[in-house]
């Protein structure tokens, strides 16, 4: 039920984001969502792509440090209060969120929120019980 996110270690220096994105572009890999977390020295670029394994191999060949992490993608109504509803469920279930980011679906009136949580199974069960839609890998690839 979880999906694969790739994360890349980047030093804060000019041109690095371009190198990552052009390498993925050349390998014909589609980026669905991204988030960049940074400190003053380095950053971690997290990507949801259509071919995570291929993206990882491609970037490793270019000398980047790449990790693959399981995350969950939750469909959230793109309207006021939609996100709050999900957060309430997470809070009540005491699910600890390490980080998250969101993007909007092109074809539907929904947003997708990517969560990295400490306990994936519990999070998925809890959210599904409350009627939320957790995207499967195939669904993400089709976005």
């Amino acid at each position: 039920m979880s999906i694969k996110q790739i994360s890349i270690f980047l030093e804060n220096k000019a041109g690095r984001l371009y190198e990552v994105s052009s390498a993925l572009g050349d390998a014909n890999i589609d980026i669905h969502a991204l988030s960049l977390a940074d400190t003053s020295d380095f950053g971690i670029l997290r990507l949801i792509v259509n071919q995570p394994e291929k993206a990882s191999t491609t970037l490793k060949e270019k000398g980047f440090t790449v990790g693959i992490t399981e995350v969950i993608a939750v469909e959230v109504e793109d309207k006021p209060g939609g996100f709050a509803k999900v957060m309430k469920i997470m809070q009540d279930a005491k699910i600890n969120i390490e980080y998250m980011y969101a993007f909007v679906e092109k074809t539907k009136d929904n947003a997708i929120v990517i969560f990295r949580v400490d306990n994936i199974e519990t999070a998925i069960n809890t959210l599904e019980k409350k009627g939320l839609h957790i995207l499967r890998e195939a669904e993400v690839l089709d976005l």
């Binding site: 030093e11 400190t39 971690i44 440090t65 980080y99 990295r116």
Partner: protein, 432 residues
């Protein structure tokens, strides 16, 4: 002022006779009391009776830092424990520190050579010595302390750090002598300037600076900013601490107190003794030490000896200011750091052969050490928090083991330059 005219101005022949006698004595003591030296000498086939004059010193074995670590902690003791009154060690707890164990006689010699050192800057009974070298296992603090006590000066044992308090004490107690590392002294000057304090208004007139290499340019800067006369002093834990050599008022090289510490310059490749004036590695033998006497200690500092008579009247030869090292040791804020020590810490923490680089710079006045560690898949995490925790943990471990503050920076793989497959471990941007 010359503290000990009898010894410090001794005619050359008398000095050589004294050195010869003292060498014979120390060699016989270590041969009979220190199995480590007996073994070394037996291996070379040299007996105490083969040492007839100071020239025979070349027959004796060298001692290295590695040797000293191997026999840690008491392997070099040449006397009974009941005669030891104090112990100091080199910085760093990685591996094993170097141990210096002093008898009361050694403390007396130490006080004596430090009194000679400070007398070179005319320190007397009326002076107030603000001693900002660290007190503790480090030899700097207590070495200066004993010397000032011997002279009968008033010593303020403030120890290192706490810059605000240093300035307050300088102002309140009207210290006339300042002792600390040269870089700390410049930091102090900078801090004073920012706080509107002008050293012109303070009575401090002389400073003794050592424990790290510094240059003529730094001397000019220190003298201009602190309005004092700055003296270079030299020493190391393995020999006694500070008090091995010091500059007289003419400041052209450092007089080695060679009635106690016999200097040689050798070719670091062959071990062959070089002539005065030839540049090479400094080697010192302790002629009078009782607790832990050392034969021909290879210091790894590069310099040359200046045998010419000095205008001050002292007959002791001088060594030129340090000109480099034969190994990769760094001195950061007075602390000796070997890249291999940091490598061991990284290896232990990450469980893999680390790719790292040490970047040393002088930000303003103080040295700073940045440890760059290349990222790899084993230590990578997609969470910033975890990577930051790792940086902090490494820095903490370095602070704990080496007593030096470092900032740790994670860098991308292969970003540390490698030449012929070997990474350059140290970039020193200090321009000392």
């Amino acid at each position: 002022m010359i503290w000990d005219k009898k010894h410090e101005t001794m005619p050359n022949d008398d000095l050589r006779a004294l050195q010869s006698q003292r060498l014979k004595d120390v060699v016989s003591r270590v041969y009979n009391n220190v199995p480590f030296y007996k073994k070394k000498m037996d291996e070379l086939g040299v007996k105490p009776e083969d040492i007839k004059s100071i020239d025979d010193i070349v027959k004796l074995p060298f001692t290295t830092k590695e040797d000293m670590r191997e026999v840690f902690p008491y392997g070099l003791l040449a006397t009974e424990m009941e005669n030891i009154v104090e112990i100091h060690t080199s910085s760093g707890t990685t591996g094993k520190p170097v141990v210096d164990a002093y008898t009361q006689g050694d403390i007396d010699v130490w006080s004596e050579v430090m009194a000679r050192t400070m007398s070179m800057g005319d320190v007397g009974k009326n002076d107030i010595v603000q001693n900002a070298y660290g007190y503790g296992l480090f030899t700097g603090g207590l070495g200066v302390h004993y010397g000032a006590r011997k002279i009968g000066a008033n010593i303020i044992p403030i120890s290192g750090g706490n810059t605000k308090r240093q300035l307050k004490v300088l102002q309140d107690f009207k210290s006339t002598v300042m002792t600390c590392t040269p870089s700390y002294c410049l930091y102090l000057a900078e801090y004073a300037r920012e706080n509107g304090i002008d050293f012109k208004d303070l009575p401090v007139r002389v400073g003794f600076f050592g424990a790290e290499p510094w240059s003529e340019n730094m001397r000019k800067e220190i003298e201009a900013k602190l309005h004092l006369k700055a003296y270079d002093i030299y020493g190391l834990t393995e020999i006694i601490g500070p008090g091995v050599a010091a500059e007289c008022e003419h400041q052209n090289g450092l007089h080695i107190f060679e009635d106690h510490f016999y200097p040689e310059i050798i070719n670091p490749e062959t071990g062959e003794q070089l002539k005065d004036g030839e540049k090479g590695e400094l080697v010192i033998t302790t002629l009078t030490k009782e607790g832990t006497p050392i034969l021909r200690y290879r210091i790894r500092d590069i310099t040359f000896l200046m045998p010419e008579a000095c205008k001050c009247g002292r007959s002791f030869r001088r060594m030129h200011r340090l000109m480099g090292r034969t190994d990769d040791m760094l001195i950061i804020r007075g602390v000796n750091v070997f890249p291999s020590q940091i490598e061991q810490i990284l290896f232990r923490m990450e469980g893999i052969e680390p790719h790292y680089q040490l970047v040393v710079s002088r930000d303003g006045q103080l040295d700073s050490l940045e440890v760059q560690v290349e990222m790899n898949e084993r230590i990578f995490s997609d969470e910033i928090k975890k990577l930051e925790e790792m940086e902090k943990a490494i820095a903490k471990e370095i602070a704990y083991e080496l007593a030096v503050h470092a900032t740790v920076k994670l860098v991308e793989p292969k970003s540390i330059a490698r030449s012929e497959g070997k990474a350059k471990r140290v970039i020193d941007n200090r321009n000392i």
